[in-house]
């Protein structure tokens, strides 16, 4: 009996929900980690796992099936070439969901969902972002200092 196994409707009609889930799955495959609400994270998990199963099979038929669900060709390529090979010896449970806090506005609980085995890539990405941010901050400070200097010189001249 499948009593009380209704799943997630996410307050959308079928086509809207399918589009949302396809978008989310595509993003997860492309980005390794996606931040969303806990309910959406829980709702996409089985879809991502199905895609990875297709990726592990690796034949042309499963590639076409993945193409039918994922939104972009790049996502399918990444799924078959880089994502699926990570999970050769694992039967499911390819994803990790971690709750991170609450959304401003409606108080919905936020979480990120990420692919296992992507930690190194994600850490690298984060480091790069931090470096870029640091550079930007320095440049801003420099520009600000120059402006202040100019402003200081003008009244004297």
């Amino acid at each position: 009996m499948r009593h009380r196994n209704a799943g997630f409707k996410l307050g959308r009609n079928t086509s809207h929900r399918r589009a949302l889930l396809r978008n989310l799955v595509t993003s997860i495959v492309l980005e390794d980690r996606v931040e969303t609400t806990i309910t959406k994270a829980k709702a996409v998990r089985p879809h991502v796992e199905k895609m990875i199963t297709l990726g592990k099979k690796g034949d042309v038929h499963s590639r076409r099936q993945a193409l039918a669900f994922l939104q972009t060709r790049e996502a399918v390529t990444r799924l078959f070439d880089t994502v699926a090979p990570r999970y050769g010896d694992r039967n499911g449970g390819y994803l990790r969901i971690v709750r991170t806090g609450f959304q401003k506005g409606d108080g919905a609980e936020k979480a990120f969902i990420e692919l296992l085995g992507a930690e190194a890539v994600l850490d690298e990405k984060r480091q790069k972002r931090a470096e870029v941010r640091e550079k930007k901050r320095e440049e801003l400070q420099k520009a600000l200092a120059e402006q202040q200097q100019q402003a200081g010189e003008e009244p004297q001249a």
């Binding site: 971690v98 709750r99 991170t100 806090g101 930690e119 850490d123 984060r126």
Partner: protein
């Protein structure tokens, strides 16, 4: 329109409210920064969860 016939005593009010108390949230300690955090969630202070999982934490400028 129906209306109350008698005044409600303070005792009655407080007796009704005796069961209205809120329970405090159960908090656990972050093993990384020892700040109190919600259980099963990444720490909002240091962004860690289960050793790793560091989120971007905004530093106070």
């Amino acid at each position: 329109m129906p209306n109350p016939k008698r005044r409600h005593s303070k005792a009655r009010t407080s007796k009704r409210r005796a069961h209205d108390a809120l329970t405090s949230t159960g908090l656990s300690e972050c093993p990384n920064c020892h700040e109190r955090k919600l259980p099963h969630r990444a720490c909002a202070k240091c962004g860690s969860y289960k050793g790793r999982e560091v989120l971007e934490v905004k530093e106070a400028n």
